[in-house]
Symmetry: C2
Subunit: 221 residues, 2 copies
């Protein structure tokens, strides 16, 4: 790890640091239910029972079950997007560091927040307006990565024929982690994230060690 | 396209060729329902109504709704696996051609058979015994790709630090296509597959053109 990668914090956030997920009780129990039974397999009364409130009390906070899913998806998307932007920011003007940081941030989210990240597969059942909002935030993340890849090609540290398609493919690769990663399994998020950074650096034609192979005089940014 | 890539057929199958999906009526209608409403969001009576039979008639063929999902998942997994193995076979003893063919075959499946492939996200709601069976077929595909990558590293046409993790990551990248690809969209399966082959060849440290850059005397197998 380059020293600079552990000290920089954009917008006051340490994008590598994860506390246990702290959600309001309704969202916590809804997330467990959706993870175990799926969105469609979960009734509002299941969530109310888990929370220990009546169904009408639950409807006081959320208009319907989809509104709960939307709140969880927003939490997930905002978390991964804000961390990815902070990670990119920390990479300063070096595309290879920005790129590696973003991939690392996304995989850390997919693993540390696997229950939230796995909700992604429920996205297609949302009403169009809700899906559109969520898709817009995801597009920002995709555009961030595409921009970094394009910068890297321009700076001749990457070799990529199709930056936009490569960005989408890499984010799909990271998202797929949430379909199999177990938060009670032996593989640590940090280890997996490091492997995916190496794989992704190959994909853009950078050598996996290159972000450490070019130390800059006077610092790391 | 090298000429040899269109003539080889392993086990009598042309892995690049797709006819419209031809399933028994119950599976056809169940697939539509699962794609539109999700597995958990679809009642057995919805499927019976779409097929135009009674619920008891439907239970004559399938024990329950999960048995229908299992039949569809088996169709999907057997299709992608048999095509991928045929694609690898056609690559003969050249790891870079075998690799490119497998990635192409998997992406062609994810796009030409997007409704079947999208069922993958319902896998986690299966009973453990059913999930285990399905996971075993997927593991064979993952092992096929890992073996090819390892062969390529040995033959010095690939540079990969972690063949197994890279194989899983690449298959995840391909699987993610099924989450966004629209079979009524403008992007053609063949075009997308070609892009993913190029991206995947970068990931294993091969140049995207390399499988055509080393013609062999006497033909292309």
């Amino acid at each position: 790890m380059a020293a600079g990668r552990t000290v920089g914090k954009a917008a006051g956030q340490d994008w590598r640091h994860y506390e246990p997920l702290d959600l309001p009780p309704i969202l916590t129990h809804a997330l467990d239910a959706f993870y175990e039974q799926g969105f469609h397999g979960t009734a509002v009364r299941d969530i109310a029972r888990r929370v220990g409130v009546t169904v009408p009390a639950l409807y006081y906070y959320y208009e319907n079950k989809e509104a709960i899913l939307v709140a969880l998806l927003e939490t997930a998307t905002n978390d991964v997007a804000s961390r990815a932007f902070a990670a990119a920011e920390e990479g300063g003007d070096r595309p290879e560091v920005r790129f590696a940081n973003v991939i690392e941030a996304v995989v850390l989210h997919m693993t540390h927040r696997v229950r939230l990240a796995a909700l992604d597969s429920e996205l297609r059942y949302l009403q169009p307006a809700n899906r559109k909002h969520y898709a817009a935030t995801r597009k920002k993340l995709e555009n961030l990565l595409t921009g970094i890849i394009t910068d890297g090609v321009r700076a001749k540290v990457f070799t990529v024929a199709e930056p936009a398609e490569t960005s989408r493919a890499l984010l799909g690769m990271c998202q797929a982690v949430a379909t199999w990663f177990r938060d009670d399994g032996p593989l640590r998020p940090e280890k997996l994230a490091a492997r995916y950074v190496a794989i992704a650096l190959m994909t853009v034609g950078a050598q996996p060690g290159s972000r450490r192979a070019r130390p800059r005089p006077g610092g790391t940014r």
